[in-house]
Amino acid sequence: MKARVTVTLKSGILDPQGKAIEGALKSLGVKGVASVRQGKVFDIEIEGGDRAAAETALKNAAEKLLANTVIENYRVEVTG
């Protein structure tokens, strides 16, 4: 099964990299960009076909390593 874990900065946490990207987009003349926040995407292959077990494993992975929950939120999706 394929799965995706998305890690994003919590609101209120300053994101200097996102700000720099936002500035670069504006200087390129890309219209309509209000703000940019940078995050991370992990594409993960899961063994076996048990969806619920996969979600549990992915949450475990996110809590233990993929996200630092002091500053980051995460979202888990089993995409099939």
Binding site: I13, L14, P16, Q17, A20, K64, L65, L66, N68, V70, I71
Partner: protein, 233 residues
């Protein structure tokens, strides 16, 4: 003082640290590999040195913080053993839950590598007895992610409990945004844990310990630790 320096893949300051410890304590530290599961018997001080463990992949210090040896380091700290965590070591200590907060990308988005001035906030800790409170020392920094942040409650606790030990300052000890090189909250350069036995700091005291380095301001930290163990013995 029996020291152990933890070595992770990608660390590059372990030899500077070992050299400084040998120079000041007179005793060669044990170099302990990350995959080991125990510290040498009778260890007084554990040092997590600087560098780029695991190439800073995922988040600085994130992977090293989950290495096998870190369970032993956590148990050592829980048992009131002294832990000195410098630069990447500070990032690893935060990721490992030994210290609160996170070290984020420097506010200016640049890697900074130069001397900074630090105001020593307290002299009554195991790590700072070699200094006077309010003293300003000059030692180098070399980091891209040293911008300390924590939630408001944690910052209030750190300040309220006097756990901010080093702050970026002017040469005269003035705390000012112009001297806060990486944008850290409250100009925080170094903090201790609740029990005062774990110190994390971004600058490198081990790099200003002999005349050939230009300055010796970092000696006080190691000399203070040696004194601490002499007095405890």
């Amino acid at each position: 003082m029996k020291s152990a320096v933890i070595v992770f893949p990608g660390i590059n300051r372990e030899r500077d640290m070992a050299r400084a410890i040998k120079l000041i304590s007179g005793r060669e530290p044990a170099m302990v590999w990350h995959a080991d599961t125990a510290l040498p018997a009778g260890t007084d001080l554990v040092v997590i040195p600087g560098g780029f463990s695991y190439g800073d992949y995922l988040r600085c210090g994130a992977i090293a913080a989950r290495a096998p040896i870190m369970d032993a380091v956590r148990a050592f700290a829980a048992n009131r053993g002294l832990v000195l965590a410098v630069c990447n070591g500070f990032q690893i200590a935060c990721e490992a839950g030994l210290l609160p907060g996170v070290l984020m990308r420097n506010a200016q988005l640049r890697f900074i590598c130069h001397d900074v001035h630090l105001r020593v906030e307290r002299s009554d800790t195991a790590f700072t007895r070699g200094y006077n409170a309010g003293q300003v020392i000059r030692i180098p920094v070399a980091h891209g992610e040293g911008n300390y942040i924590a939630d408001g409650e944690t910052i209030a606790r750190l300040e309220g409990e006097g756990r901010v030990i080093f702050r970026y300052s002017s040469p005269d000890g003035i705390i000012d945004p112009n001297w806060n090189h990486n944008g850290a909250m409250n100009a925080i350069a170094g903090i201790i844990n609740e029990r005062g036995n774990v110190l994390g700091l971004m600058p490198h005291p081990e790099n200003h310990v002999e005349a050939a380095m230009g300055r010796t301001d970092g000696r006080g930290l190691f000399a203070g630790l040696v004194d601490h163990f002499k007095l405890a013995a």
